[in-house]
Amino acid sequence: MATVVVVTSGKGGVGKTTTSAAFAVGLAMRGHRTVVIDFDVGLRNLDLIMGCERRVVFDLLNVIHGEGSLHQALIKDKRVENLHILPASQTRDKEALTLAGVGEVMASLRERFDYIVCDSPAGIEKGAIAAMYYADEALVVTNPEVSSVRDSDRIIGMLASKTRRAEQGEPEVKEHLVVTRYDPTRVHQGDMLSAADIQEILAIPFLGVVPESKSVLVASNSGIPVPLVKDSDAGEAYLDVVDRFLGQERPHRFLEGPKKGLLSRILGI
């Protein structure tokens, strides 16, 4: 039986798509049959981040409206075994997304995959609700910054009330906190909220931090999900997040910055 995981945040630009791509790649690398779905109708990005934008023929809305089969729409990733992508429509309106239609697609996907990762659009409107509606678990992506925390709090409230599990009185969606763009130096300086501060406010289980990293921009522009980039701290952080999600212990290695060498400390750099 598949697990549906929504990657959501409320706030825009915090790293949902980067996280969805990295999380899906990580799950597939650990041997699980995984599909990642873009729910951002009209502003699709997941295909770019996954590097499959030149292979999109059919999308989620085509499948919902019967204009293409799921088999035709699913794009197999060329680098990682076990991984497929279901892109969003770029030309249609998000009004064309229906909960019933999404439900049917989910039912078909549940038969073929172990994990269904739903990349949510920003906001709390129809697209975000469609992405979270069938979720079993959720990654709440938050930047260490007050408006992102406020918006994440809002979205956590919605996970507890606007999902199918909430409406049917089933066990609640399991929420996990992922803090992205973390910079321990700025946390020490007092500019940035610490992971502990964010946990205290949001009060959901903590899955890990992903450090602010130059490799993320490079990865996006190249269409390579971050965990596939060599020597990327963000990539390694995402793999740690996946392993913790799968139940394994992993020390939190990105809460503190890299240790400065003696020379750097003497020179004050």
Partner: protein, 256 residues
Amino acid sequence: MASANPRTADAPAFELKGTALTLMVLHPFATDAARIGRELEERSTRAPDFFRDAPLVLDLSGMQDGPEDLDLTALAASVRRAGMVPVGVRGASPRQRELAVAAGLGWIANPGRSRDGADAPCEPEVCRASHRPVAGNGRGPQAVVVTQPVRSGQRLVAPDGDLVVLSSVNPGAEVLAGRHIHVYGPLRGRALAGASGDTEARIFSAQFAPELVAIAGEYVVSDDLEPECLGRSTMVYLEDGALRIQPITGLVVAPP
């Protein structure tokens, strides 16, 4: 499980059952369908979740002047525009039955009066389903106890009694009570006690950092609070019509 296999050709495709349902009933006083529609839309915007997609019955029995002048088709359209679903008409003449059918509404022949002969006024259920009402002795208002954080954008109302929050009230959240509000965690949102006008109501908070507090309509915003009273265990009450903010000593809340 169902006894008949629906795929067998002779097995029935459905079953008809009688049931008793609780429905909202609209009793028009005027024949102006447009005006009824406007007022209905206005009322439904105040509690949209309660009214949205709700089935509605039109009861014409109380109309003094010319119920036959009421344009049922227009009224049904007004009801739909306000987000509800008109399902039927009751308490009217055979002539109106034709009009009802023409308007696509069902005809409820037997009015089925409630015990005291009148329908009770309809108020939206304002408390979230996740609350657990404290079992009282049957007299007096019930307290509502909430154990989960009240998240940004959520609004919790305990219309008659006290509201007790055993977790946090986050920024952007709002809690209201007819009587007292007790927050045994950080109060970072809005708290409005004595919401129906009870000036004796108080607000108690283990960690006081609200956006706004109010008692019986008297309010103060965060900006106008003295910095010394923030972050501590605090009680807010009304004295001579003015809000007083007083530290509570001796209340220690252990971290989770």
